[in-house]
Structures are given as C-alpha cells and as structure tokens.
C-alpha cells in the first residue's frame, strides 16, 4: 500500500472523523488502515506482544478522543505515530517505575525474556540485533528502528519526533556505528 493512498484517504478520513454522524464508521476505517503499521512501530519499542496490544488500543483511544484537536499541521499518519511513540515510552517508564527499576534494567529484562517469547522467532543474529538496539539511548533506538526497519524518510521522522533532520541523521549514523561494532565485534 503506497503512501499516496494514505495521504489521499487522510483528507477524507479527517473530515469524516470530525463529523459526529460519521465518526464511528470513519474511526473503524482509520484503525483498519493504520493498525498494522502502528502495531509494529509500538512492538519495536515495548518488545512484548501483550504490552504492544495494550499500547495500540490506548493509542487509538487517544486518537479518537483528540481527533477534534487535530489541526492538520502534520500528516494524520505522523500525528498518530507521535501519539503511539509517546504512549509506548510512557508505558515503558511506568512499567520500570512499578517494578522499581531503571529504564535500562527494564529493557535488559525484556531482552532476557525475548529468547523464550513465543512471539519472537528470530534467529541468533536477529536476537543479537535486538540486544544491540537495547543498549542504545532511547532516542537512538527510535531513530534506528524507524529508519532501518520502517524505511521512513528523515523528513517524516522529523515531523513525528519534532526534531531536525540533521539531528536525526547524526543519531542514525551513531546508532548504526554502535550496532555494527556490537554485531561484528562479538
């Protein structure tokens, strides 16, 4: 499904979402259109499937409740990605706080559980890559995942993460170098 499809449908969707009579139907269409992309984006941040399911649902609920505040300054896709990113990071922080751990310790724990996770079927090198990503600072992890796996453009990432393209390029470059050295160094 090309990006043109999303953009063209965004305009129509937004007007239907902001009209009370068609809101629920349009909201269902919106979820159908974006659920898979948002799920994989969230999954790469929170790692576990069950947590991703919770965060995905909360993301859509937040979108539904705040659709009237969406002014169209960014693409609908970027706006939802931003909500999903914030929800996922908030979830991680709350989880760490609840178990009285630092964010790094919580990530380490998630990595330890990954090998036995029934919803992870990666081979050794994929597991090693996830472990390497987990060693990066939070922002570099986001940038790496969005660029490497989702193939987002720097312009789109800048819109989602509300930062400059230059900073993102630098972050990605540093992240790739660190990961390469971890993968090859072993």
């Amino acid at each position: 499904m090309g990006k043109q499809f999303f953009v063209k449908n965004d305009l129509e969707l937004i007007s239907r979402l902001q009209s009370p009579s068609s809101r629920d139907h349009a909201f269902r269409d919106l979820m159908t259109l974006y659920k898979e992309r948002l799920y994989w984006h969230i999954r790469k941040i929170v790692i576990s499937h069950d947590d991703s399911d919770d965060v995905l649902q909360n993301t859509f609920i937040k979108v539904y409740k705040n659709i009237d505040k969406f002014k169209g300054e960014s693409k609908l896709f970027s706006w939802m990605y931003r909500i999903a990113t914030n929800e996922a990071i908030t979830h991680l922080n709350k989880h760490a706080k609840r178990f009285q751990m630092s964010s790094e310790e919580a990530q380490q724990q998630a990595m330890n559980n990954l090998k036995s996770d029934v919803y992870f079927d990666g081979d050794d090198i994929q597991l090693k890559l996830q472990q390497a990503i987990a060693t990066l600072p939070q922002k570099q992890q986001l940038v790496f995942n969005m660029k490497y796996f989702d193939n987002l453009k720097y312009r789109e990432m800048a819109d989602i993460l509300e930062t400059s393209e230059g900073a993102l390029k630098a972050s990605y470059h540093i992240a790739v170098q660190k990961i390469e050295s971890l993968l090859i160094g072993d």
Binding site: D24, R28, M31, T32, K35, E36, Y39, W40, R43, K44, I47, H49, S52, D53, L56, Q57, F60, I61, Y64, K94, K97, R98, Y119, F120, D121, G122, D123, D124, I125, Q126, L127, K128, L129, Q130, Y148, F149, V176, I179, E180, L183, I184
Partner: protein, 167 residues
C-alpha cells in the same frame, strides 16, 4: 595405485546427517559476521488473526470508558470533610495562638494539638462548624488545585503498594 597397506578408510566419521545441514550452517555463519546488512526483519511476530479483532476491542474499551464511572479509592465527600476538619484545626490553632500571645503566655504547641486531639472531635463534627459555602470554597480552592488527576496518579505510583490494594 597399489596401496602399501591394506587400509581403505581413514577411520574418521561425521555426525549423522552432517552434510544435510552444511549449507544452512555456512549461510548462518556468514550472516553472523556480516553485520547489519544481512538483517531485514526484526524476528517479532504476532498471534494469528490478532489484527482482525483490533477495531472491535478498541470500540469495546471506548464503550466501557464512557459507560463506567471511575470509583475513587478516596471519596470526594470524605476528602472534603477531612480537608474541612484540617481547616478548622488550623483556624482554632491560629485563634489559640493569638489568644496566648495577647495574654503574653508561653504557647505550648504540643499542648494545643493534644487538646484538639483529646477532645475526640470527629472530622464530621469539625466540618459541621463550617457552612456549605465555606466547604465549597475549600473544595474549589484547595481540592481542585491540589488533587488534579495527574498528581493523584503520580502519588499512587510513587507511594501506594499496589499488591496491598489487590489483596
């Protein structure tokens, strides 16, 4: 060529089916030493048909949100009485302080506090000394400023032991 000894085999052997897996082993080893370029996928997967039910589950959650009222662990009315009582204690304390200072007596704070406590006055009795209007003022000026949703959530996360609540 004529062999010097009548030995046809080396004696070495391989694990069973060793040669069936050689290709995979080599590719795997190649990948493990070629860094990022060999990895296209994350390795994550999801339950079969999971995405088919996302819409219905989100609508269900939305309906639950709108149909159910949140029952507070601390009732607002109760909180109101406690706050009102605290305000009364504060007022009495101020009056007593002024009284003692005008008569130039040495003020014993602990004595005043224990006096109020020992009188066995309940929060409801103290609140009864206030008019509805005064209680409403306390409600709007103290409660609404101090107990907003995020500060209550932060407080619960920081202080409350959830395991005790579940029990």
């Amino acid at each position: 060529m004529k062999k010097k000894w009548n030995i046809r085999e080396t004696g070495f052997k391989t694990p069973q089916n060793y040669f069936d897996g050689v290709e995979d082993a080599v590719v795997s080893k190649l990948n493990s030493h070629s860094g990022l370029s060999s990895i296209d996928e994350t390795g994550f997967k999801m339950p079969e048909d999971f995405l088919d039910s996302v819409e219905d589950r989100v609508f269900k959650k939305l309906n639950e949100d709108s149909n159910s009222r949140v029952i507070s662990l601390v009732s607002r009315r109760h909180l109101l009485y406690v706050t009102a009582a605290a305000a009364v204690v504060l007022i009495m304390f101020t009056i007593l302080t002024n009284k003692f200072s005008t008569s130039e007596s040495e003020l014993d704070y602990e004595m005043v506090e224990s006096y109020i406590i020992n009188q066995d006055i309940s929060a409801y009795e103290l609140a009864a000394l206030l008019t509805e209007e005064e209680i409403e003022t306390i409600n709007t000026t103290i409660l609404s400023e101090t107990f907003n949703e995020s500060s209550v959530e932060d407080y619960l996360l920081d202080v409350v032991d959830f395991e005790n609540l579940i029990e």
